[in-house]
Symmetry: D3
Subunit: 126 residues, 6 copies
């Protein structure tokens, strides 16, 4: 199994719908970037054996909340965290904790992202 | 047990030496900031039951690596992550993963921080 | 008066409407974060005697404009700055000044936030 | 020719429509900021002889993509890069490259900005 | 009095020693950048009548503490804030407050910068 | 020629000495990160045909100056920019321009990085 196949397998598990949208969105302007997303983050990094997927998604949700400039990707990884075995409560804890390291606005905006993801899963928003 | 006592207990467990240095350092210029560090991050947040300390330190190491502008605190939390039960390998995985979300320079500078912490623990640097 | 009560008093003075929305918004997903917002930023920090509220809001508007990744909170604090005694002109000066430290895009986006806040106060947008 | 006139000449060449909107937008709240935008970035910096306009726009698109908190200005400069002689493919390459230095989310959000600019030029969005 | 002269006058008042070092440092590699520093931030912005110098320095100390990636300039402006009429206590308050908006590491690193500036003024470090 | 070989060829051309140090530095703690640096940034991205190496280094110097939290990598790429055909004057122009998008402190700190690189090349510092 090559890097792309390995990556796609993990990506499907974590974020099937979002990743198909991403590929679709990139295909006419930067299809190679879509391929790199599968190959490097997922095929190379998430596929590494030294850390479980749940911890990897905790790390990613923390980083994207703290950086505060990548809301679409944060939502995608909140979803991924749930698919990797985090409870909603654990995702919320990670985000609240970022108030300490990146300030309250980052944490509040992260919670709003989580709220939207949870509501979409619950069918309350389309 | 009040917020300060609860926080101090957790802080001692995660980062005893670093936190004493921090308090010492702040005491003549902003002692209240030293107290807040114990009360809010540790007494309020890390003390919350919904996420284990190991996952909390993974989140913090991820965020500080990604932000890339707080090397002293990153080193402190790499140490804290080890005290919370992360293996060195797991810490390294979290940091490498940040190449995906914050770029290779952030990951490389994070690895250099980890290297320094590991070497200090091993007695190779004072 | 405890930290929460002290914080709420200040928050009501600076940002009554926004803060009620914030609490309402957080209450079903992360109510503790809503409580922390009252207790730590307002009950602990803004309540401190060493700096007047007007100067505190100038500092906050400056920081949020410079960081550029927290527009809802920037708008809230532009409003808070006016309630703390800043004139519109002073708020605009703080934001323009950020062109020097965080670049012109940060300043322009900050001015757009101020424009929206001013227009809402003037009843030109709902 | 003074700084303002020199700046306006370059700005018209790079971003005529966007810059008129910007001036219009700033005129009732911070007209001096509009004047500074013409004078300092364009009249002082872009007017300097040591680097061609195409390279200047490559630098700006790279920086704004990497910073990730100034989407309106990024779109403006993607347009400016095309007017300075970059092909669409070159703009896309600059943005993809930012995955290395600022992470994949920054690159993906940059590509989405480019897609919107290209579609507007092609008359597919108004 | 032209922009350069006006800027130099303000800069001398706020940061005489630091600004001479800066000019000296830039003169053989980018002397125009040294000139722009005098002309735009000081000659254009700090010279504006709508906000007093003390409030301007509060805004700048806040922003540089929050951004956390410009320690030399933060130290310079802590010094400038004192020269503009801030007490040491007020500078410390501004920096502590940044824990709320940019996280505790930013505030702690800002306090360390202030400590160094205060000790230099007191002749405790050269 | 595989990704690693292709990447190493480009990396040697741009930054031979720095990249050997980097690999050496990573080899006992995160050797795979060293391999990824060769494979993804250089083997995948810089190897792409759509943008010349000189423009790629201009983009990277711009981004790292603007981000302001990766001084070692900025110095490395200032060196790379020279090896890719930029004159010293062009590198200085790119960095000065960042004052517009990321503020004067970022530009000044970038110029200091360039000064150090130029002096090292000239044999004035070891």
């Amino acid at each position: 199994m090559d890097r792309f196949e390995k990556g796609l397998e993990i990506l499907k598990k974590l974020n099937d719908e979002n990743s198909q949208e991403l590929m679709e969105n990139l295909k006419d302007i930067a299809p190679d970037l879509g391929r790199y997303v599968v190959e490097f983050p997922y095929g190379d990094i998430y596929a590494r054996p030294g850390l479980d997927l749940k911890s990897r998604e905790i790390a990613t949700v923390a980083a994207l909340t703290a950086m505060g400039n990548a809301q679409p990707q944060l939502k995608s990884h909140i979803n991924g965290a749930l698919n990797a075995g985090c409870s909603r409560g654990e995702v919320v804890e990670v985000i609240i904790q970022m108030a300490v390291y990146a300030g309250f606005p980052a944490a509040i905006n992260g919670i709003n992202a989580a709220k939207e993801v949870f509501r979409r899963i619950d069918g309350k928003i389309p």
